[in-house]
């Protein structure tokens, strides 16, 4: 399946959805001018990943769970809605029997980002792994 790679800007995160290399990552700040324009290709990619055999293929060649890494420094409220949609799609992959994990990164001084992760995990009803990092940046 074709990869979806989006470069990071000051207002949009880096996105890597690369099933060939088993690399799935969101990193940076998210407050796009047009949130729908930015997130719809990502949603469409994940729906395709869910609905074709691509996820099964990735899992077959992986020794460990597929890991979706969320390394977000900041996201605005309209991005939050789409991030929830992404998490729902990932949970659907899990419900389809795909062995996967969600790693939610947060700065050691940023309790709010940890809390947001716990909150989204609860809303989507899927447990996250929380990864504390030692750096100080915001979006």
């Amino acid at each position: 399946m074709e990869s979806l790679i989006i470069k990071e800007t000051t207002s949009t995160p880096k996105v890597v959805l690369d099933s060939r290399n088993n690399n799935f990552e969101f990193q940076g700040c998210s407050r796009p001018e047009d949130v729908r324009d930015f997130y719809m290709p990502i949603i469409n990619w994940l729906e395709k990943f869910r609905d074709t055999k691509a996820a099964v293929e990735v899992e077959k060649h992986a020794t460990n769970p597929i890991i979706f890494k969320f390394k977000l420094d900041y996201f605005n409220s309209s991005s939050a809605k789409f991030i929830l949609d992404i998490l729902v799609l990932i949970n659907q992959l899990h419900l389809n029997g795909i062995n996967l994990r969600i790693d939610w990164y947060f700065n050691q001084h940023d309790d709010d980002m940890l809390e947001v992760g716990k909150e989204l995990s609860e809303v989507v009803d899927f447990p996250f792994e929380y990864v504390e990092v030692k750096k100080q940046v915001i979006g």
Binding site: R31, D34, V35, N76, S78, A80, K81, H109, M113, V123
Partner: protein
């Protein structure tokens, strides 16, 4: 009572466009970076600025010249260990009641109530034509930790100047 003079961090009066909001947010980020605040406070303040300014540009309306106010008036002050954020813009009179209801609702809730409202709202949120998810006011209230003040100044029969005031303590408090 002893008063510490206010430190004006950012002040702007002028046009309301996406480019101006972008430039104000970039400037705000640089100012906040240089203030050596707790990361949590820095990010809450940045979030309040993003949500309030994005809200103003999403709901902006074109107003003619010779008005009493600029299309966008914003201010970020530090006074008595508290950040004061004011964002003002013109809106349609017909939107004032809805905004007022939303702010009154979040002001009536405590921290747990706000978190509950956020969770139920994000689960059923739909992105509007203007690109909003209807979560901005809840998010501002959660980040501020204090009541939101607002005022409408009537200008003619269909236009109001909306004044939104938020505050945030300089020292981090657990949300």
């Amino acid at each position: 009572m002893f008063q510490v003079s206010a430190q004006n961090i950012i002040s702007f009066q002028g046009e309301l466009t996406f480019e101006i909001i972008e430039s104000l947010l970039n400037r705000a980020k640089q100012e906040l970076d240089s203030m050596k605040l707790d990361l949590v406070v820095q990010k809450r303040l940045y979030s309040i600025l993003v949500e309030s300014l994005e809200n103003s540009v999403k709901h902006r309306i074109t107003v003619g010249v010779n008005r009493n106010h600029y299309p966008l008036e914003m201010n970020l002050l530090l006074q008595n260990n508290q950040f004061l954020i004011t964002v003002c813009n013109y809106i349609k009179q017909s939107n004032a009641e809805l905004i007022s209801q939303k702010i009154d609702e979040v002001n009536s809730l405590n921290r747990d109530g706000l978190n509950q409202l956020y969770r139920s709202s994000i689960a059923k949120a739909r992105i509007s034509d203007k690109g909003g998810a209807g979560l901005g006011i809840i998010e501002m209230a959660r980040n501020s930790g204090q009541k939101i003040n607002y005022k409408f100044i009537q200008e003619g029969s269909e236009l109001v100047f909306f004044i939104l005031e938020l505050s945030l303590l300089k020292c981090a408090q657990k949300n």
